[in-house]
Symmetry: C2
Subunit: 344 residues, 2 copies
């Protein structure tokens, strides 16, 4: 090992180039995704038509869901999805209007059930960029690494629970109410009946036992469409200016990187605290990504997996497979019933 | 839970439609990847120019490699990569000639080192489709689900080890030799000096302790370019025929699905045995995918992660981070040396 060989300093000039080329890749990626979303729509519609003819298609897919989702599905959630989930659809709803192809709408269609009145529950996620904060007095303006956060934000979606059936024990309703009250503009304003109740409820909630349906309460950072648009335009403008300077052979970015890194870390910590203050489902964006970028495109693959598991559990019931064999209805043996996966 | 609701039979008609729509998605995906590979080349070239100015860029990226790769890197491999890996490049080498964009070449450039003479080691993977086996006498020809295996295949790449330095203990050389002898055409032909030696060596090798450099010996299924091309054409033709039938309202695929599933499973088992017979690195294709679809596009992200870990280990050396602090060279503190991650 010769770590000293790697110890050459990375100049801030090079750092700003890394940041800019990543942004160029992102821009190209958005272009590609837009085209992909437009072209794939017809294929996905055809797929939806086919899978609607297969009873239990989506429940089987959700039983095989990747860990990010599986770990959020409690036994009661699983039972509800299994018995009542009729359809699932992901759309890139901003594409038609020239918007961001990374914004997604996730639409669940349910059969009549004991838990809630809704037949359709849809949650939308908008891909937004956070404005770069103006440097505080005495701080230098950052140059060359003015990356701001970007990602998925959402709004809480209310569910009309049947009496005594609220799977989130009131959390979702409170999240909807707190969201409607708007962000706390000052520290005096940080209290309200709903906020106090939500804080109290959150402090009592074990994250591991939370219902999947609390996910509909996810908010994320509060960034408006206008703020995001301005932040994107600002970043593009600065990037173009740096590219121009580089083309002319001028120097770009000449600050002390070490100091800047420390500053950024502190900023991020502050923001994180604020972001999660009234969040009932902190990983909501991760689940949205797993649903839209894994479950949705790979649904047929997951469906086949579910059926293979079923075949296995029928043919040779072995230990090691986390399956409870179907044994209550011998007549249905050829009819590919779902493998009941044990959720823990 | 109401499993009976899900027990409706899936007709083979619908199965063949699922198979066909997956193939249509694949076709579109290939089109998209071709375009992407062509358009992104300039961006990747610009990135390569930038990262070549950063000493230790690729070693730092490999230190942060995802689990599929990290678990294959032994301490000696890690030390070699850290001290000698100068450049890494992934190309979609078949795109220029109208070939498959999923075929990848992975090229490692090394500094002069104690272990081998090579400065450049390149491994190519071809995306190939296996011909559908003709049904044996007495078996019905499959209809509607004639999916055959497709994926990455490769050839072993020899490494010129310095005396006594072979990190694979002779396995890689034997794999190269066995590959040159060609596939066993009959069971009589299943023995040769190299094959016997390789089998003996493999039975003594603990998979967990294998060098990453054994990956260069991966072969996978032996499918020629011609066989693959014919299989692709055949599948497309049959799919088009089925689509035409469906458009006319004719029935497609009417076999007993259960029987067919069982048959397929048996076939696959046979093939798997053959496939891994002389394979010194059975997960070679998984590693190739992780390198080309994760490490390569996300290299800057991994590089930043490596630096953040370094900052952490400098600022507050805490338990729980799997890091050994840099303490042998105080002068280099500001020069962003790599975090030495302990490999197990």
């Amino acid at each position: 090992m010769a770590p000293t060989e790697l110890a050459a300093p990375v100049s801030s000039v090079t750092y700003s180039e890394l940041t800019d080329i990543e942004a160029d890749f992102d821009d190209y990626n958005v272009e590609l995704l837009t085209q992909q979303a437009t072209r794939e729509r017809a294929l996905y519609e055809r797929r939806s038509e086919i899978v609607r003819r297969i009873a239990g298609f989506w429940p089987l897919v959700f039983e095989q869901a990747p860990p990010e989702i599986d770990q959020c599905i409690q036994p009661t959630d699983g039972a509800l999805l299994l018995s009542a989930l009729e359809d699932f659809e992901v759309t890139r709803f901003e594409v038609a209007d020239g918007g961001d192809p990374r914004s997604v709408a996730l639409r669940f269609t349910f059969a009549e059930n004991d838990i809630f009145e809704d037949r359709v529950i849809e949650k939308r996620f908008w891909y937004r960029r956070e404005p770069v904060k103006e440097p505080k007095e005495g701080e230098k303006k950052k140059d060359g690494s003015s990356e701001s956060w970007s990602g998925l934000v959402s709004e809480p979606v209310a569910i009309k629970w049947k009496k005594g059936k609220d799977l989130t024990d009131g959390l979702l309703d409170l999240a909807v109410q707190v969201y409607k009250e708007g962000p706390s503009s000052s520290s005096d304003d940080k209290s309200s009946k709903a906020k106090d109740e939500l804080n109290a409820a959150l402090s009592k909630t074990a994250v591991g036992g939370l219902s999947f349906f609390a996910w509909f309460g996810y908010v994320g950072r509060r960034i408006s469409a206008e703020e995001s648009k301005a932040a994107v335009a600002q970043e593009r403008k600065e990037r173009a200016e740096r590219a121009e300077k580089r083309a002319k052979g001028e120097k770009v970015g000449d600050e002390d990187e070490e100091d800047e890194d420390d500053k950024e870390d502190e900023d991020e910590d502050d923001e994180d605290d604020e972001e999660y203050e009234f969040e009932i489902f902190p990983d909501g964006d991760t689940v949205a990504l797993a649903l839209s970028e894994d479950v949705w495109p790979n649904a047929i693959k997951y469906f086949r997996q579910a059926q293979e598991q079923e075949t296995l559990s029928e043919a040779d019931f072995e230990e090691g497979f986390d399956i409870i064999a179907e044994d209550d209805d011998e007549e249905d043996d050829e009819d590919v019933p779902p493998a009941k996966k044990q959720r823990t």
